[in-house]
Symmetry: C2
Subunit: 192 residues, 2 copies
Protein backbone atom coordinates (compact mmCIF):
# COMPACT_ATOMS: atom_id res chain seq x y z
CA UNK A 1 0.00 0.00 0.00
CA UNK A 2 0.91 3.58 -0.40
CA UNK A 3 2.61 3.95 2.88
CA UNK A 4 2.41 7.32 4.41
CA UNK A 5 6.11 7.35 5.08
CA UNK A 6 8.07 7.41 1.87
CA UNK A 7 11.86 7.03 2.18
CA UNK A 8 12.17 7.38 -1.59
CA UNK A 9 10.70 10.82 -1.41
CA UNK A 10 13.87 12.49 -0.20
CA UNK A 11 15.93 11.04 -3.00
CA UNK A 12 13.33 12.02 -5.57
CA UNK A 13 13.46 15.60 -4.35
CA UNK A 14 17.25 15.72 -4.62
CA UNK A 15 17.13 14.29 -8.12
CA UNK A 16 14.55 16.89 -9.05
CA UNK A 17 16.74 19.64 -7.60
CA UNK A 18 19.66 18.48 -9.73
CA UNK A 19 17.49 18.53 -12.82
CA UNK A 20 16.23 22.00 -11.99
CA UNK A 21 19.73 23.37 -11.44
CA UNK A 22 20.85 21.75 -14.66
CA UNK A 23 18.03 23.34 -16.59
CA UNK A 24 17.69 26.75 -14.99
CA UNK A 25 20.74 27.19 -12.84
CA UNK A 26 20.89 27.74 -9.12
CA UNK A 27 19.10 31.03 -9.64
CA UNK A 28 16.07 29.07 -10.79
CA UNK A 29 16.06 26.79 -7.78
CA UNK A 30 13.20 27.27 -5.35
CA UNK A 31 11.07 25.13 -3.13
CA UNK A 32 8.31 25.54 -5.64
CA UNK A 33 10.28 24.65 -8.76
CA UNK A 34 11.69 21.56 -7.08
CA UNK A 35 8.28 20.51 -5.86
CA UNK A 36 6.86 20.85 -9.36
CA UNK A 37 9.74 18.92 -10.92
CA UNK A 38 9.56 16.14 -8.35
CA UNK A 39 5.77 16.12 -8.52
CA UNK A 40 5.36 16.49 -4.79
CA UNK A 41 3.43 19.13 -2.89
CA UNK A 42 5.21 22.31 -1.87
CA UNK A 43 5.04 21.47 1.79
CA UNK A 44 6.93 18.24 1.17
CA UNK A 45 10.10 19.99 0.01
CA UNK A 46 10.11 22.37 2.95
CA UNK A 47 9.51 19.44 5.25
CA UNK A 48 12.52 17.47 4.08
CA UNK A 49 14.79 20.49 3.59
CA UNK A 50 14.13 23.42 5.88
CA UNK A 51 16.40 25.68 3.84
CA UNK A 52 17.56 25.76 0.25
CA UNK A 53 21.18 25.47 1.37
CA UNK A 54 20.40 22.06 2.82
CA UNK A 55 19.02 21.01 -0.51
CA UNK A 56 22.07 22.35 -2.32
CA UNK A 57 24.39 20.47 -0.02
CA UNK A 58 22.57 17.23 -0.74
CA UNK A 59 22.58 17.97 -4.47
CA UNK A 60 26.27 18.81 -4.55
CA UNK A 61 27.13 15.67 -2.63
CA UNK A 62 25.10 13.53 -5.00
CA UNK A 63 26.54 15.23 -8.08
CA UNK A 64 30.00 14.70 -6.64
CA UNK A 65 29.36 11.00 -6.36
CA UNK A 66 28.34 10.98 -10.00
CA UNK A 67 31.52 12.73 -10.97
CA UNK A 68 33.57 10.30 -8.93
CA UNK A 69 32.03 7.53 -10.98
CA UNK A 70 33.17 9.18 -14.19
CA UNK A 71 36.67 9.22 -12.81
CA UNK A 72 36.47 5.66 -11.64
CA UNK A 73 35.34 4.67 -15.13
CA UNK A 74 38.77 5.70 -16.33
CA UNK A 75 40.20 2.72 -14.58
CA UNK A 76 43.56 3.12 -16.24
CA UNK A 77 44.19 5.98 -13.87
CA UNK A 78 45.22 3.45 -11.28
CA UNK A 79 47.73 1.67 -13.51
CA UNK A 80 51.20 2.95 -12.84
CA UNK A 81 53.51 3.33 -15.75
CA UNK A 82 50.97 4.88 -18.06
CA UNK A 83 51.10 8.49 -19.19
CA UNK A 84 49.37 10.26 -16.33
CA UNK A 85 49.17 13.65 -18.00
CA UNK A 86 47.73 12.16 -21.14
CA UNK A 87 45.11 10.25 -19.23
CA UNK A 88 44.04 13.27 -17.25
CA UNK A 89 43.80 15.29 -20.43
CA UNK A 90 41.66 12.56 -21.97
CA UNK A 91 39.49 12.44 -18.86
CA UNK A 92 38.90 16.15 -19.01
CA UNK A 93 38.12 15.88 -22.69
CA UNK A 94 35.56 13.18 -22.14
CA UNK A 95 33.92 15.13 -19.38
CA UNK A 96 33.81 18.38 -21.29
CA UNK A 97 32.58 16.60 -24.40
CA UNK A 98 29.43 15.56 -22.55
CA UNK A 99 26.38 17.70 -22.73
CA UNK A 100 27.12 21.22 -21.61
CA UNK A 101 24.21 21.32 -19.18
CA UNK A 102 25.58 18.44 -17.16
CA UNK A 103 29.02 19.97 -17.00
CA UNK A 104 27.57 23.34 -16.11
CA UNK A 105 25.47 21.74 -13.41
CA UNK A 106 28.38 20.13 -11.62
CA UNK A 107 30.63 23.12 -11.95
CA UNK A 108 27.95 25.55 -10.88
CA UNK A 109 27.25 23.55 -7.76
CA UNK A 110 30.95 23.36 -7.07
CA UNK A 111 31.50 27.10 -7.59
CA UNK A 112 28.49 27.98 -5.50
CA UNK A 113 30.67 27.24 -2.49
CA UNK A 114 32.31 30.62 -3.10
CA UNK A 115 29.32 32.41 -1.62
CA UNK A 116 27.77 29.67 0.48
CA UNK A 117 29.96 28.54 3.35
CA UNK A 118 27.62 25.61 3.92
CA UNK A 119 28.80 24.10 0.64
CA UNK A 120 32.50 24.50 1.30
CA UNK A 121 32.97 21.33 3.33
CA UNK A 122 31.31 19.35 0.57
CA UNK A 123 33.48 21.00 -2.06
CA UNK A 124 36.50 20.19 0.06
CA UNK A 125 35.41 16.54 0.33
CA UNK A 126 35.13 16.45 -3.42
CA UNK A 127 38.59 17.87 -3.98
CA UNK A 128 40.05 15.60 -1.31
CA UNK A 129 38.56 12.58 -2.97
CA UNK A 130 40.14 13.41 -6.30
CA UNK A 131 43.39 14.28 -4.61
CA UNK A 132 43.48 10.93 -2.88
CA UNK A 133 42.93 9.18 -6.17
CA UNK A 134 45.78 11.08 -7.76
CA UNK A 135 48.07 10.44 -4.81
CA UNK A 136 48.28 6.85 -5.91
CA UNK A 137 50.22 8.08 -8.92
CA UNK A 138 52.16 11.04 -7.54
CA UNK A 139 53.02 12.87 -4.39
CA UNK A 140 50.34 14.97 -2.64
CA UNK A 141 51.83 18.29 -3.69
CA UNK A 142 51.70 17.35 -7.34
CA UNK A 143 48.21 15.96 -6.93
CA UNK A 144 46.94 19.28 -5.58
CA UNK A 145 48.68 21.16 -8.35
CA UNK A 146 47.14 18.90 -10.97
CA UNK A 147 43.69 19.52 -9.58
CA UNK A 148 44.24 23.26 -9.58
CA UNK A 149 45.51 23.20 -13.13
CA UNK A 150 42.62 21.04 -14.33
CA UNK A 151 40.15 23.33 -12.62
CA UNK A 152 41.75 26.31 -14.31
CA UNK A 153 41.73 24.66 -17.70
CA UNK A 154 38.04 23.85 -17.35
CA UNK A 155 37.38 27.41 -16.32
CA UNK A 156 39.06 28.71 -19.45
CA UNK A 157 36.92 26.47 -21.58
CA UNK A 158 33.65 27.11 -19.82
CA UNK A 159 34.05 30.82 -19.18
CA UNK A 160 35.57 32.04 -22.40
CA UNK A 161 34.05 29.72 -24.96
CA UNK A 162 37.37 28.48 -26.26
CA UNK A 163 37.48 24.90 -27.44
CA UNK A 164 39.19 22.30 -25.29
CA UNK A 165 42.58 21.30 -26.63
CA UNK A 166 43.61 17.92 -25.36
CA UNK A 167 47.18 18.08 -26.58
CA UNK A 168 47.67 21.45 -24.97
CA UNK A 169 46.24 20.14 -21.71
CA UNK A 170 48.52 17.11 -21.83
CA UNK A 171 51.53 19.30 -22.41
CA UNK A 172 50.99 21.66 -19.49
CA UNK A 173 49.81 18.91 -17.15
CA UNK A 174 53.01 17.04 -17.90
CA UNK A 175 55.01 20.07 -16.86
CA UNK A 176 53.54 19.93 -13.37
CA UNK A 177 54.41 16.28 -12.90
CA UNK A 178 57.95 15.91 -11.61
CA UNK A 179 60.27 14.03 -13.91
CA UNK A 180 61.67 10.69 -12.92
CA UNK A 181 60.05 7.30 -13.10
CA UNK A 182 57.87 6.47 -10.15
CA UNK A 183 56.55 9.94 -9.72
CA UNK A 184 57.24 10.34 -6.04
CA UNK A 185 60.13 12.73 -6.01
CA UNK A 186 61.29 14.47 -2.88
CA UNK A 187 59.89 17.92 -2.80
CA UNK A 188 60.79 20.84 -0.58
CA UNK A 189 57.49 22.66 -0.69
CA UNK A 190 55.42 22.57 2.49
CA UNK A 191 52.72 19.97 2.23
CA UNK A 192 49.25 20.04 3.65
Amino acid sequence: MARRYDPERRRRIIDAAIRVVGAKGIAGLSHRSVAAEADVPLGSTTYHFKTLDELLVAALRQAGEGFAKVIAAHGSLSDPGTDLAGELAALLGDWLAGDRTGVELEYELYLAALRRPALRPVAAEWADGVAELLTRRTDPVTARALIALMDGLCLQVLLTDVAYDKEYAREVLARVIPEGGSGARPVDAPGT
Copy 2:
Protein backbone atom coordinates in the same frame (compact mmCIF):
# COMPACT_ATOMS: atom_id res chain seq x y z
CA MET B 1 25.80 68.96 -25.96
CA ALA B 2 23.26 66.27 -25.26
CA ARG B 3 22.88 67.60 -21.79
CA ARG B 4 20.17 65.11 -21.15
CA TYR B 5 22.56 62.23 -21.42
CA ASP B 6 24.18 61.96 -18.05
CA PRO B 7 27.22 59.69 -18.02
CA GLU B 8 27.70 60.34 -14.34
CA ARG B 9 24.44 58.69 -13.57
CA ARG B 10 25.37 55.59 -15.48
CA ARG B 11 28.65 55.32 -13.65
CA ARG B 12 26.98 55.81 -10.30
CA ILE B 13 24.61 52.96 -11.07
CA ILE B 14 27.46 50.65 -12.02
CA ASP B 15 29.36 51.50 -8.87
CA ALA B 16 26.25 50.82 -6.84
CA ALA B 17 25.81 47.47 -8.61
CA ILE B 18 29.36 46.51 -7.68
CA ARG B 19 28.75 47.41 -4.08
CA VAL B 20 25.53 45.41 -4.04
CA VAL B 21 27.17 42.34 -5.54
CA GLY B 22 30.02 42.67 -3.08
CA ALA B 23 27.64 42.83 -0.16
CA LYS B 24 24.88 40.44 -1.14
CA GLY B 25 26.18 38.53 -4.13
CA ILE B 26 24.72 38.36 -7.59
CA ALA B 27 21.68 36.71 -6.11
CA GLY B 28 20.94 39.94 -4.26
CA LEU B 29 21.24 42.09 -7.35
CA SER B 30 18.02 43.59 -8.61
CA HIS B 31 16.91 46.78 -10.26
CA ARG B 32 15.51 47.83 -6.96
CA SER B 33 18.51 47.08 -4.80
CA VAL B 34 20.78 48.91 -7.22
CA ALA B 35 18.44 51.87 -7.39
CA ALA B 36 18.35 52.10 -3.62
CA GLU B 37 22.13 51.80 -3.31
CA ALA B 38 22.74 54.41 -6.01
CA ASP B 39 19.98 56.62 -4.63
CA VAL B 40 18.24 56.94 -7.97
CA PRO B 41 14.65 56.12 -8.83
CA LEU B 42 13.78 52.61 -9.94
CA GLY B 43 12.95 53.73 -13.43
CA SER B 44 16.41 55.15 -13.84
CA THR B 45 18.13 51.78 -13.55
CA THR B 46 15.77 50.11 -15.97
CA TYR B 47 16.24 53.00 -18.37
CA HIS B 48 20.02 52.75 -18.47
CA PHE B 49 20.14 48.96 -18.35
CA LYS B 50 17.18 47.23 -19.91
CA THR B 51 18.29 43.90 -18.49
CA LEU B 52 20.31 42.82 -15.49
CA ASP B 53 22.78 41.09 -17.78
CA GLU B 54 23.68 44.44 -19.28
CA LEU B 55 24.37 45.76 -15.83
CA LEU B 56 26.48 42.74 -14.99
CA VAL B 57 28.52 43.16 -18.14
CA ALA B 58 29.27 46.75 -17.22
CA ALA B 59 30.09 45.76 -13.65
CA LEU B 60 32.40 42.93 -14.70
CA ARG B 61 34.21 45.18 -17.13
CA GLN B 62 34.72 47.84 -14.49
CA ALA B 63 35.84 45.32 -11.88
CA GLY B 64 38.24 43.90 -14.44
CA GLU B 65 39.82 47.28 -14.90
CA GLY B 66 40.27 47.51 -11.16
CA PHE B 67 41.97 44.14 -11.10
CA ALA B 68 44.23 45.13 -13.96
CA LYS B 69 45.38 48.04 -11.84
CA VAL B 70 46.32 45.68 -9.03
CA ILE B 71 48.46 43.77 -11.48
CA ALA B 72 49.99 46.89 -12.90
CA ALA B 73 50.88 47.96 -9.37
CA HIS B 74 53.22 44.96 -9.27
CA GLY B 75 55.46 46.74 -11.70
CA SER B 76 58.27 44.28 -11.23
CA LEU B 77 56.29 41.87 -13.36
CA SER B 78 57.68 43.61 -16.39
CA ASP B 79 61.31 43.31 -15.34
CA PRO B 80 62.89 40.34 -16.97
CA GLY B 81 65.36 38.36 -14.98
CA THR B 82 63.33 38.33 -11.80
CA ASP B 83 61.72 35.21 -10.41
CA LEU B 84 58.43 35.12 -12.30
CA ALA B 85 56.87 32.31 -10.30
CA GLY B 86 57.72 34.00 -7.04
CA GLU B 87 56.24 37.28 -8.17
CA LEU B 88 53.03 35.69 -9.33
CA ALA B 89 52.75 33.84 -6.04
CA ALA B 90 53.24 37.11 -4.20
CA LEU B 91 50.68 38.84 -6.40
CA LEU B 92 48.11 36.18 -5.65
CA GLY B 93 48.94 36.43 -1.98
CA ASP B 94 48.43 40.17 -1.93
CA TRP B 95 45.16 39.85 -3.76
CA LEU B 96 43.81 37.08 -1.55
CA ALA B 97 44.99 38.90 1.56
CA GLY B 98 42.64 41.77 0.76
CA ASP B 99 39.18 41.79 2.20
CA ARG B 100 37.34 38.66 1.29
CA THR B 101 34.30 40.53 0.01
CA GLY B 102 36.31 42.30 -2.68
CA VAL B 103 37.91 39.06 -3.80
CA GLU B 104 34.59 37.29 -3.77
CA LEU B 105 33.07 40.10 -5.78
CA GLU B 106 35.56 39.92 -8.61
CA TYR B 107 35.60 36.15 -8.70
CA GLU B 108 31.84 35.87 -8.55
CA LEU B 109 31.42 38.21 -11.47
CA TYR B 110 34.07 36.29 -13.36
CA LEU B 111 32.50 32.92 -12.64
CA ALA B 112 29.04 34.16 -13.50
CA ALA B 113 30.09 33.82 -17.13
CA LEU B 114 29.55 30.08 -16.72
CA ARG B 115 25.81 30.54 -16.90
CA ARG B 116 25.53 33.88 -18.67
CA PRO B 117 26.87 33.83 -22.20
CA ALA B 118 26.65 37.61 -22.30
CA LEU B 119 29.49 37.78 -19.79
CA ARG B 120 31.79 35.39 -21.60
CA PRO B 121 33.29 37.89 -24.03
CA VAL B 122 34.14 40.15 -21.10
CA ALA B 123 35.66 37.27 -19.17
CA ALA B 124 37.67 36.41 -22.27
CA GLU B 125 38.89 40.01 -22.53
CA TRP B 126 39.98 39.83 -18.94
CA ALA B 127 41.92 36.62 -19.41
CA ASP B 128 43.42 37.89 -22.66
CA GLY B 129 44.63 41.01 -20.93
CA VAL B 130 46.44 39.06 -18.25
CA ALA B 131 47.79 36.65 -20.84
CA GLU B 132 49.21 39.50 -22.85
CA LEU B 133 50.91 40.86 -19.77
CA LEU B 134 52.47 37.49 -19.03
CA THR B 135 53.54 37.01 -22.62
CA ARG B 136 56.17 39.64 -22.05
CA ARG B 137 57.87 37.19 -19.75
CA THR B 138 57.13 33.84 -21.37
CA ASP B 139 55.64 32.22 -24.41
CA PRO B 140 51.85 32.29 -24.91
CA VAL B 141 51.38 28.63 -24.06
CA THR B 142 53.04 29.05 -20.70
CA ALA B 143 51.12 32.25 -20.08
CA ARG B 144 47.80 30.46 -20.55
CA ALA B 145 48.93 27.63 -18.33
CA LEU B 146 49.97 30.05 -15.61
CA ILE B 147 46.59 31.72 -15.69
CA ALA B 148 44.83 28.38 -15.48
CA LEU B 149 46.97 27.31 -12.57
CA MET B 150 46.50 30.59 -10.73
CA ASP B 151 42.75 30.37 -11.25
CA GLY B 152 42.77 26.86 -9.88
CA LEU B 153 44.84 27.83 -6.86
CA CYS B 154 42.45 30.65 -6.06
CA LEU B 155 39.54 28.29 -6.39
CA GLN B 156 41.08 25.90 -3.89
CA VAL B 157 41.51 28.72 -1.41
CA LEU B 158 38.12 30.31 -1.91
CA LEU B 159 36.03 27.15 -2.24
CA THR B 160 37.54 24.91 0.41
CA ASP B 161 38.63 27.40 3.06
CA VAL B 162 42.24 26.31 3.03
CA ALA B 163 44.80 29.01 3.70
CA TYR B 164 46.86 30.34 0.83
CA ASP B 165 50.40 29.01 0.85
CA LYS B 166 52.71 31.28 -1.07
CA GLU B 167 55.68 28.94 -1.11
CA TYR B 168 53.55 26.12 -2.40
CA ALA B 169 52.16 28.36 -5.11
CA ARG B 170 55.64 29.48 -6.12
CA GLU B 171 56.81 25.91 -6.33
CA VAL B 172 54.07 24.64 -8.62
CA LEU B 173 54.00 27.79 -10.73
CA ALA B 174 57.72 27.36 -11.31
CA ARG B 175 57.11 23.86 -12.61
CA VAL B 176 54.94 25.21 -15.39
CA ILE B 177 57.54 27.71 -16.55
CA PRO B 178 59.94 26.09 -18.98
CA GLU B 179 63.52 26.02 -17.82
CA GLY B 180 66.13 28.07 -19.62
CA GLY B 181 66.84 31.73 -19.24
CA SER B 182 64.83 33.96 -21.52
CA GLY B 183 61.67 32.00 -21.14
CA ALA B 184 60.71 31.84 -24.79
CA ARG B 185 61.42 28.25 -25.59
CA PRO B 186 60.14 26.59 -28.72
CA VAL B 187 57.05 24.62 -27.94
CA ASP B 188 55.16 22.14 -30.03
CA ALA B 189 51.75 22.62 -28.50
CA PRO B 190 49.16 24.41 -30.60
CA GLY B 191 48.79 28.08 -29.82
CA THR B 192 45.65 30.07 -29.25
